[in-house]
């Protein structure tokens, strides 16, 4: 391997151990970890940082990095000698929420972190029994986390608080937003998540990997397939299983169907937030038609129950594929026409223009992912940068816009729709012949990373399996884990309270995917 990643690693003096050509592991001493990751993050992108703790082994930190123009990932691990480590946040802003999670869930303290508040746990009594991990041992649980005390972060004459949630106005997910306002303007938003914390990763520990796919698919309903796929691919990498071309095409096809129903839904919500009920209804029709097509293709409207280790359970039949091919033209035409109409509707554009701005500098400091990142000039997409499934064999563009406002995010949604429709057309035109697939013959011990581009962005899953294929540790880093962080910042960038529905719709982000 002589790619950009290998050069970066050798410059840092790392000994790389390669897994299948697309991921390299390196172990470093605990004391050097933070300094090394900070140094690497100047030229690489920190995509994940997480901890693994058990009673018998020392606490371990893992950093996941990627560099531009190299399809490989770098996984850097370090065993800590104590429960403290030097915080990266001052050098690498993207590490901030990862470190808060490490502190909250594993009790490892990032020394020097500027704001170590809780993210998910609300009322954890100090004597709460520790949560068991997959080895039948108990994980170390911090004793310091207790109920959250909230102090006003903004004070001043005329500043008041306006709480919204956790029970919201319509059929929406539970999350709490505390607005600080002087009347109309949003001065700041205090975001409280974690209401839906189901502890999915903990629940899966000890299960055999093929039985845990259904949990990965239920991490978030609207990105069920992408999360399931990233998880399944991580398991396949550990087990050394090959996937047949027809399964790879099915995976790419359904991944794009999921993007279609998400983006149709996102634009529908944007239209609703701006009072354009006809537009909302039109995109609602498109979303419902996509969900029904998904049902015909694989038996589930949200594409669940399709994946298995080593392939897929269902290959879309010739009839369903032909029907989809006929629909693609219709959807493209209708979607194009609706986008043009929206772009000519001033009441729509006025509400989106300069609303919730995320500047490109901010976006790159926080390594934002998906449409939110691409609307702030971040040109990343794992379908192109780290090709998987059948994405290596189709042509598509990754649209980016540099404005960083809600209108830019709308433009990214509508351009991505066009690209997804194009990808589906190419996949259907070159559909591979059916082939028997072996699936898993023997489980192997080890750990690996899997990835997929969810509708909301880059989705990473890391698994550690034992010799029987049981999960010792599963780390899910879906896009919402990254993209909730800038949400509060975007709300506070000179917007009014009435902009809030537009901001939320333009982010199109799931609370369940963050809470997990």
């Amino acid at each position: 391997m002589s790619g950009a990643l290998a050069r970066l690693a050798s410059a840092a003096g790392l000994q790389l151990e390669w897994y299948g050509g697309d991921q390299a592991h390196a172990a470093v001493p605990g004391a050097e970890f933070s300094e090394l990751v900070s140094a690497l993050a100047r030229r690489a992108t920190l995509s994940d940082l997480f901890a693994t703790t058990t009673i018998k082994t020392p606490p371990r930190l893992t950093a996941v990095l990627q560099v531009a123009d190299d399809p490989a990932w770098l996984l850097l691990t370090a065993d800590l000698e104590s429960t403290r480590f030097a915080s990266l946040t001052a050098q690498v802003h993207a590490a901030s929420w990862y470190e808060r999670e490490i502190f909250e869930m594993h009790g490892l303290e990032p020394v020097g972190h500027p704001a170590l508040g809780p993210l998910r746990l609300h009322h954890r009594p100090e004597d709460q029994p520790p949560v068991p991990d997959g080895r039948g041992e108990t994980a170390a649980v911090p004793s310091r986390i207790n109920s959250r005390r909230r102090t006003p972060s903004v004070t001043g004459q005329g500043v008041f608080q306006l709480p919204l949630g956790p029970v919201r106005s319509g059929p929406q997910e539970s999350a709490e937003f505390l607005f600080y306002s002087g009347g109309e303007d949003i001065v700041e938003v205090d975001l409280r998540l974690g209401f839906k914390y189901r502890a999915i990763e903990l629940l899966a520990e000890g299960l055999r990997a093929d039985q845990a796919i259904q949990l990965a698919e239920r991490l978030a309903g609207t990105s069920a397939f992408a999360n399931g796929l990233a998880f399944t691919r991580a398991v396949e990498r550990v087990s050394g299983v090959d996937v047949s071309p027809v399964a790879e095409s099915t995976r790419a096809l359904l991944g794009e169907v999921e993007r279609l129903h998400n983006h149709f839904g996102s634009i529908a919500r944007l239209a609703e937030a701006t009072g354009l009920l006809v537009a909302a209804a039109q995109y609602g029709l498109l979303k419902e038609e996509t969900l029904r097509t998904a049902g015909r293709l694989c038996g589930h409207r949200y594409l669940r129950g399709v994946l298995r280790v080593g392939g897929v359970q269902v290959v879309p039949g010739a009839d369903a594929r032909a029907q989809l091919q006929a629909q693609i033209g219709d959807w493209t035409q209708r979607s194009d026409r609706l986008t043009r109409l929206l772009e000519q509707t001033s009441t729509f554009l006025d509400r989106l223009d300069t609303t919730a701005v995320l500047l490109p500098d901010y976006a790159s400091e926080h390594n934002l992912v998906g449409p939110v990142g691409r609307a702030s000039g971040i040109d990343r997409d794992v379908r192109r940068d780290h090709p998987y499934a059948a994405y290596g064999s189709v042509e598509f563009d990754v649209p980016t816009v540099a404005d960083g406002d809600a209108e830019a995010r709308f433009q990214v949604f509508s351009r991505e729709l066009k690209q997804s429709l194009g990808i589906i057309r190419q996949l259907l035109e070159h559909w591979p012949a059916d082939r028997e697939e072996p699936g898993v013959t023997a489980w192997h011990e080890g750990s690996a990373l899997g990835w997929a581009e969810a509708p909301g962005g880059e989705c990473l899953h890391w698994v550690d399996l034992d010799g029987q294929g049981r999960l010792l540790r599963w780390r899910a880093r879906p896009p919402a884990v990254v993209n909730w962080h800038p949400f509060a910042h975007a709300c506070g960038s000179g917007n009014n309270l009435t902009d809030y529905p537009v901001i939320e719709a333009s982010f199109s982000i799931s609370a369940a995917e963050f809470d997990r």
């Binding site: 319509g170 049902g295 589930h300 009441t347």
Partner: protein, 280 residues
């Protein structure tokens, strides 16, 4: 703006005639699974329980003597049993799958001395009061939804109720932002520790008489997350539930059926242990 009005008019009416007429376009995506006990041997029953990822199919005993408990309320429609044993576990495409009583989602088979499995007892029929529904809200019902810890799949389907295909307003059904105006509490998701208090507060803030619907496998039984360390469990441990809508997530039509069922405007079309009853 006039162009939008023209666009809307040109599109015409796309709304289904549910519940008056059958539903089209939902083929392939079942609303529930039914157990046809005649199509199952004891050995197959034991194997089905082993591949079921939730507690929807559970067995005890051996192939000689044992028991199988099927719970459609815990079924997440993963399709493993229907693909493996298509004679015994059959997909239900009729969206009228909501039921008034939890028992109607369950059935138990027993086998002894190596004989074929047979049902122990049929689930109790809904009581007269339950069948009648609450006539008070027949023509206008205001719904307060609470996400008690879902995956966002149920919310996505609930949002589709307002889209043109399902269009719940034509049936006199409305979502309301405030519990003070709500007649019905629609709960999705397994109840998490963090959502227990907001859920109970919302219920307490509703004026009596009030109805409760548990929508989706998580709210009915815990689904995939049953027994999790940060969850309280199924909704009916906390509140009296008037109707259960199975599914993962329930389809928009199944949700509409559940709403009409508690109002006495639709009849039950599904029982875990019986052939399709049709029903409207």
């Amino acid at each position: 703006m006039s162009r939008w009005i023209a666009k809307g008019l040109r599109t015409g009416i796309r709304t289904t005639r549910f519940p008056q007429a059958g539903v089209r376009g939902e083929e392939g995506a079942p609303s529930a699974i039914r157990l046809r006990w005649q199509g199952l041997t004891a050995v197959e029953g034991l194997e089905a329980a082993a591949i079921c990822p939730t507690s929807a199919i559970e067995t005890s005993g051996t192939a000689e003597e044992g028991e199988l408990r099927f719970d459609a309320g815990a079924c997440i429609l993963c399709g493993r049993c229907t693909r493996r044993f298509p004679d015994a576990f059959t997909p239900v495409e009729n969206p009228r799958v909501a039921v008034r009583s939890r028992d109607q989602l369950r059935t138990t088979l027993r086998w002894e001395r190596g004989e074929a499995p047979a049902p122990v007892a049929l689930a109790a029929a809904a009581s007269a009061v339950q069948q009648a529904g609450l006539r008070l809200f027949r023509h206008s019902l205001h719904i307060r939804h609470v996400d008690a810890g879902s995956c966002n799949g149920c919310e996505s389907e609930l949002q589709m109720l307002s889209a043109p295909y399902a269009d719940l307003h034509r049936l006199g059904l409305f979502f309301t932002p405030t519990p003070r105006h709500a007649d019905l509490l629609l709960v999705t998701g397994v109840v998490t520790e963090n959502m227990k208090a907001p859920l109970l507060e919302t219920y307490a803030a509703m004026p009596a008489p009030k109805l409760v619907i548990a929508a989706g496998a998580c709210a009915i039984s815990g689904g995939s997350f049953a027994g999790g360390p940060t969850t309280v469990g199924p909704l009916d441990r906390l509140l009296r539930v008037d109707a259960y809508v199975p599914g993962c997530p329930p389809t928009p039509q199944a949700l509409l059926h559940g709403l009409l069922l508690v109002l006495g405007r639709a009849s039950q079309g599904y029982r875990a242990d019986q052939e399709d009853q049709g029903g409207a």
